[in-house]
Amino acid sequence: MRVPLASSAAPSSPEEEQLDSSAVFKREFRYVWNSLRRLGVHERDLEDVAHEVFVRVHDQLPLFDATRPLKPWLFGLALGVATNYRRLARHRVDLVAELNEVSDPRGAADEALLQRERAALVHAALQSVSLEQRAVLVLHELDGCAIPEVATTLGLALNTAYSRLRLGREAFRTAFRRLAQKRGYR
């Protein structure tokens, strides 16, 4: 099975434009990994769940519409697997506990530590956004997908996609401010 990577990567040589599932794995492992992380898969389970995603990539690549960008398609597969994963209550992340593991704000003196804590705050706030809103938020704000592409990827009506983006943004802002306040930010 060979499909062009479409717009998921910078233009490359002709021989690199045709990729099979092996090439997709090599090029997009990190993207899938981080997408799963943002979709709420716990660090300890990321390898298992990423493995499952790429099994699906292998199985479904022949069905991929090569005229579409690859990353949103991969995100859709990752979302499906992550949704199943999250159905189990025991997989829900304890946000407060995870955030506390990152750093102690009173001791956060150096810039690197502050950056790590900010990243942890962003991640924790993102985890508090509902999965359906978060999928739109991540695809649009982090992956740079235009909303029409987001809607196509997730099988949503355009208005629904815009609505989820708006609600997701607001949910993220609210969660972030609440978490940041607890951590001593203003």
């Binding site: 090599k26 704000p105 706030a125 972030f176 001593g184």
Partner: protein, 229 residues
């Protein structure tokens, strides 16, 4: 200590840098994929090609080549490490029911004994210089049965999945994918509510495959279950 943040948190979200996966995570997943897809018709699509440069890529290539021959049953004696890796690729039939979590659920159930057919030790694997076509065909047949079980499990049809697992047990009581079968069986039994049997199977799995890639997570789940008692 109070610190400043941007007025709009979305600015921080947009700047969020995706962290790199842990070292060797890509190689581990690649090797599991190789094992998972070994029996499929398009195994060539598995992530086999190493990166063009870099130490990690070299390790990935070496591991893949070494590990991928194990599920193909070519008779290369790899020892316990290879045996563990062989089963690691399919120990997660579907993400909703990873083995570790399942074992955690059933850990509080009473222990019952489960008779398990003896399996040849990894270190006793036969050594031969060339792959056996028969071994490949057998592995492919095993894989087909387990694939059916996995698909039924993914479709929330655990009873049908168990049927295929039982079929595998009967056809391949000492099959190359027995480790994978037993891990999946734990999942299925829990989904069917047969938690005591699932717990016993889970413990038998840990005992039989102490160096399995999934063993650490299974044992961790068992410890977690014990702590809740």
């Amino acid at each position: 200590m109070r610190r400043e943040l941007p007025s709009d948190p979305l600015l921080l979200l947009r700047e969020d840098a995706a962290p790199s996966p842990p070292a060797d995570a890509e190689a581990r997943v690649a090797s599991r994929l190789a094992a998972s897809l070994a029996g499929s018709s398009s195994v060539a699509g598995a992530p086999v090609t190493p990166k063009s440069s870099g130490g990690t890529a070299k390790v990935l290539a070496e591991r893949f080549v070494r590990w991928s021959v194990v599920p193909l049953g070519v008779g290369v004696a790899l020892g316990a490490g290879g045996q563990a890796l062989r089963g690691g690729g399919e120990l997660l039939p579907q993400p909703a029911t990873p083995v570790a979590s399942v074992v955690a659920v059933v850990a509080s159930a009473p222990v019952i004994s489960v008779e398990v057919a003896p399996e040849p030790a990894a270190s006793s694997a036969a050594v031969s210089s060339a792959p056996s076509a028969a071994a490949k065909n057998t592995l492919s047949a095993e894989r087909n049965v387990l694939d059916r079980a996995r698909k039924r499990l993914a479709a929330d049809e655990p009873l049908e999945a168990l049927t295929f697992l039982e079929q595998h047990s009967q056809q391949f009581p000492r099959g190359q994918l027995s480790e994978e079968r037993e891990a999946m069986r734990v999942n299925v039994l829990v989904l069917l509510g047969r938690v005591a049997e699932a717990k016993a199977r889970g413990e038998a799995f840990v005992a039989r495959y102490p160096s399995s890639l999934m063993g650490s997570s299974v044992r961790a789940a068992l410890r977690s279950g014990d702590a809740q008692k």
